[in-house]
């Protein structure tokens, strides 16, 4: 755990400052499975896990395949008096096509497919060289920054709950069923949460910085 550091003569490299409340601490990297938490506001500062990099890469790869599949296969099917319709995520995202609503279409497609996919690919790009003990990939810093900036805009899990609500809404109008993509999205949500859990931002920044110094 980190100790409070009233000693201001410490070199800056040995300080860690809470991004949330600006309290400064003497940097001491916790062991695997331990967590360094800001004593003032409770923010988790460092939380390294054993083999976190490998696990994150594995999960990211799985998510990339799931998103691709989930985008193409239908996730909901409807059947009312012989009229059948099956929609994929791409169909749903393009529901707003026509007039100024096209912007909404693009936004929806971005939030459900493009952003989650981009985050996973960026994560893989950044982490693979680090896990292999190679120097960081070119523009790895920019890639990781972008990935972190996109985090709140990745809304695949919200879309899954939206599916469930839409299902109930039209249940009395027609027979509605889940397609294969719905289950893919379900698994995807769990994987994304697991990935967030393994990811320790500080460790990544630290690893990205180290080779440059030497």
């Amino acid at each position: 755990m980190n100790d409070l550091a009233p000693d201001t003569s410490l070199p800056l490299a040995e300080l860690i400052v809470c991004p949330q409340c600006d309290a400064a601490y003497h940097l001491k990297v916790p062991a695997h499975g331990e967590r360094a938490i800001c004593q003032r506001c409770g923010k988790v500062l460092i939380a390294p896990r054993r083999n976190a990099g490998l696990r994150i890469i594995a999960v990211s790869l799985a998510v990339v395949f799931l998103i691709t599949g989930a985008a193409v296969f239908p996730f909901l099917t409807i059947d009312a008096a012989g009229n059948k319709n099956a929609v994929s995520v791409i169909d749903a995202a393009l529901a707003f096509v026509g007039g100024p609503m096209i912007l909404l279409s693009l936004t929806t497609a971005a939030l459900i497919i493009v952003v989650p996919l981009a985050r996973m690919l960026l994560t893989i790009y950044v982490l693979v060289p680090l896990v292999l003990d190679r120097p960081p990939a070119r523009h790895a810093v920019k890639a990781f920054r972008l990935s972190e900036a996109l985090r709140p805009w990745s809304m695949a899990e919200i879309f899954v709950i939206g599916c469930a609500i839409a299902l109930v809404k039209v249940a009395d109008l027609a027979t509605v069923g889940f397609g294969p993509a719905f289950w893919m999205f379900g698994i995807l949500v769990v994987l994304v949460i697991a990935q967030d859990n393994f990811m320790c931002k500080w460790s990544v920044w630290n690893a990205l910085e180290r080779p440059r110094r030497s």
Binding site: L4, L94, F96, L104, W205
Partner: protein, 204 residues
């Protein structure tokens, strides 16, 4: 202490450093423009939220009639059909959460303008809740998108998105930006201000 910290990668730099050498994030000891941006996005969010509730969200075309329902109207209709749970979720996600977010962001921004050292932890928690929950308001937009692509059954029934969908999406996005623009370090500064001996640059 004469240091400025990177809010993205937690590294400390000498005061006056412009850009973090580790992650490239712009370094500002206290973002004075932060509140202005918060209020700008907040106002935009509120403005967009008004037409989002006035205009219809969904246009439902069945054999003989065309129904146009607003957000609240749709939820009420669901409730009268017996789907109380879903009506509650929609009301919660599209009315309670947005209004709650407007209130919470305004409260946080006002609270750091008028220094009170009280309730810092509660306000930090409030900020974290606002940041986390804001995205979930998007659920209504996704439901509209799913419905209008799914329910296209020729003459039998079809659903089209209404004007409100766009305003609602904009409102959610602006409110998310407002929450992101808020510099949570200001919540904790107030404590340093009330204690004159405290070290303002970086409280330890």
């Amino acid at each position: 202490m004469g240091i400025v910290a990177c809010t993205r990668c937690t590294k400390a730099w000498p005061l006056g450093t412009q850009v973090c050498g580790r992650c490239g994030h712009a370094l500002v000891s206290r973002d004075r423009m932060s509140l202005q941006r918060v209020w700008a996005f907040w106002v935009l969010g509120v403005i967009c939220y008004v037409p989002a509730n006035i205009y219809p969200m969904l246009k439902t075309q069945t054999l003989f009639q065309v129904d146009e329902s607003t957000i609240i109207g749709g939820a009420v209709e669901l409730a009268t059909h017996g789907n109380l749970g879903i009506a509650a979720i929609i009301l919660f996600a599209s009315v309670v959460i947005p209004l709650g977010k407007f209130w919470a962001v305004a409260f946080l921004a006002l609270s750091v303008q008028q220094p009170t050292g009280r309730g810092r932890h509660q306000r930090q928690v409030l900020y974290e809740i606002v940041e986390y929950i804001g995205r979930w308001s998007m659920i209504d937009i996704f439901v509209v998108a799913i419905l209008s692509s799914l329910v296209q059954l020729n003459t039998l029934a079809s659903i089209h998105p209404g004007t409100a969908a766009m305003f609602f999406a904009l409102s959610v996005i602006f409110t998310m930006l407002a929450a992101q623009a808020f510099d949570s370090r200001m919540i904790w500064d107030v404590q340093a201000k009330t204690k004159p001996t405290g070290d303002r640059g970086s409280e330890t």
